[in-house]
């Protein structure tokens, strides 16, 4: 399963000098959607056997996230590392993952829906394209469906769901909140030290920001140009004016 280390939920984020990224001197943690993907992988292993490998494309600090994945029960980890890792766009990151796992055979590749920092939400699907594998997104349940096939439950908009069957190897992006995330136990953390963690450098596999297909030119504070319009009058008047605004200006 693919995971990403992102700034902690409430870390104060400050702009780096280049104005196009965030300063790294904050606390980091596993991207929450990826934690759900990991949980899904671990449950599949518990139900059906097999092995869970965790991979991340990130700078040196990201190995901590992999160790957490190992502590929770992943069997091995792959760290695709390099200082440039935070500057890779979803396509380049997907390339890095694909090249790092070339030659391995996985039945399922799981990712979270999107990262809580950049929030592009594409890396999983791009990995599917690069691998030439089928994919499905926003998955809530996974079950084997015969040899080399899985049956998954997709979430659609508006409270709709859908069952889909697809052949493996396949890539699935996992919906958040589908189960409680397990805690790493003391023994798990201890045992994680002895599990294999292989490191591959971005340089070794020929991935760097020049592969990016999109570039963040700059980051800026969201512009809030409007002031507050206070609606006057008694309750009835205010309600009438507000209803009018809601119907006509906001067009509900």
């Amino acid at each position: 399963m693919c995971l990403k280390q992102v700034p902690a939920k409430d870390a104060p984020l400050r702009l780096a000098a280049d104005q196009r990224s965030i300063r790294e001197d904050v606390a980091f943690e596993i991207n929450e959607p990826d934690a759900f993907a990991l949980e899904t992988g671990l449950r599949l292993k518990e139900a059906h056997g097999g092995e869970v490998a965790a991979i991340t494309v990130g700078p040196a600090r990201a190995s901590q996230a992999l160790r957490e994945a190992l502590a929770k029960g992943a069997d091995r980890a792959i760290h695709v590392t390099g200082d440039d890792a935070p500057r890779l766009d979803p396509y380049a990151a997907a390339e890095a993952i694909t090249r790092a796992i070339a030659g391995e055979k996985f039945d399922l590749i799981l990712t979270g829906l999107q990262s809580d920092d950049a929030g592009f939400g594409q890396t999983g699907v791009i990995v599917a394209e690069l691998q030439g594998a089928p994919h499905a997104t926003i998955i809530m349940q996974i079950e084997p469906a015969g040899a080399d096939r899985v049956r998954v439950k997709r979430e659609l908009e508006g409270g709709f769901f859908q069952f889909v069957e697809l052949p493996t190897p396949a890539v699935l992006t996992i919906q958040s909140g589908i189960s409680k995330i397990r805690y790493a136990t003391l023994m798990g953390i201890k045992q994680a030290k002895n599990k294999p963690l292989t490191t591959v450098t971005l340089e070794e596999i020929g991935v760097n920001p020049s592969l990016n297909r999109q570039v963040v030119e700059k980051l800026f504070a969201p512009v809030k140009s409007k002031g507050t319009t206070m609606i006057e009058g008694g309750a009835k008047e205010q309600a009438a004016k507000l209803a009018d605004i809601l119907r006509h200006q906001i067009r509900l």
């Binding site: 929030g119 939400g121 069957e165 963040v216 980051l219 809030k224 509900l252």
Partner: protein, 316 residues
Amino acid sequence: MNLVVIETKSAGKLNPASLETIAAARELGAPVAAVLLEAEETPLAAELARQGVERVLVARHPALARYSPDVWVQSLVQVIGHAQPKRVLLPHSYQVRDFAPQLATRMAAPLIADVIGFQGEGFVRPMYQGKWSAEVRAANPETIVFATIQIGAFRGQPAAGTAAPIELVTVSPSPSLLTAEAPFQEAKQAVDLSQAAIIVAAGRGIKEPKNLELVKQLADALGGELAASRPICDSGWLPMDRQIGSSGQTVAPKLYVAVGISGAIQHLVGMKGSRTIVAINKDPEAPIFEVADYGVVGNLFEVVPELVRALESSPA
């Protein structure tokens, strides 16, 4: 020329998000074409032709009866190859997020997701849960650029203009590798407020759990979801998955109505990215008014019932 990929609602109607995407495309200035994927002829193409586009492309094939990513991608590759647009815009919906990254990658192009505006050659999109905005552009100016438009970021409105020409485009997708069953509805286990276009949230100002009924009425009248600030969920008046704020969900809907919410910063960070914020509170100094677009200082027990009445007597 900019191409808009239309998404339809399951009942064969134009998804409002598609109209918003057309509006976004028109803001770019260049001629707009729209592409519709369907299995057999419907009145949709004609309806689409009157929405202020220059051209309508229709891809019609039995395999398009039910969505699957591989069929959609193959078909759109052919349509895009035929139309040769500079940009392809799609609504940032669940379905689009399922196939668009594959489509863009196959065409060696970037997909800039969740766009809320344009700046010169670049696209503006939120990052870090809305804390920052980013200006993003294609690394290579020669390629097509794909962009998904955030739901509610642009105002789309059905029009009845002059009919644009409709052109049929041949597509020949291979059968999907996926076998999809019919979609079905189900009570969701957990509420994903981040997908709601309209949210009405209750705060401590409602005083007692029985007054939630009032706020729910407002949510229903607006067609929105009910949510709450932390104290309400802490007290068990609403389940924790309805909580908005730093320890709950972060949302940025089209409309957020804060009823009896003071606006502690823990709550604000969960909703200040909303497109339009309306606040109803009896305290004129409440911090919520600093982020609100429209503020009503008053007694919510009087204002909300009146508002519900006014909304119900003037349906959309």
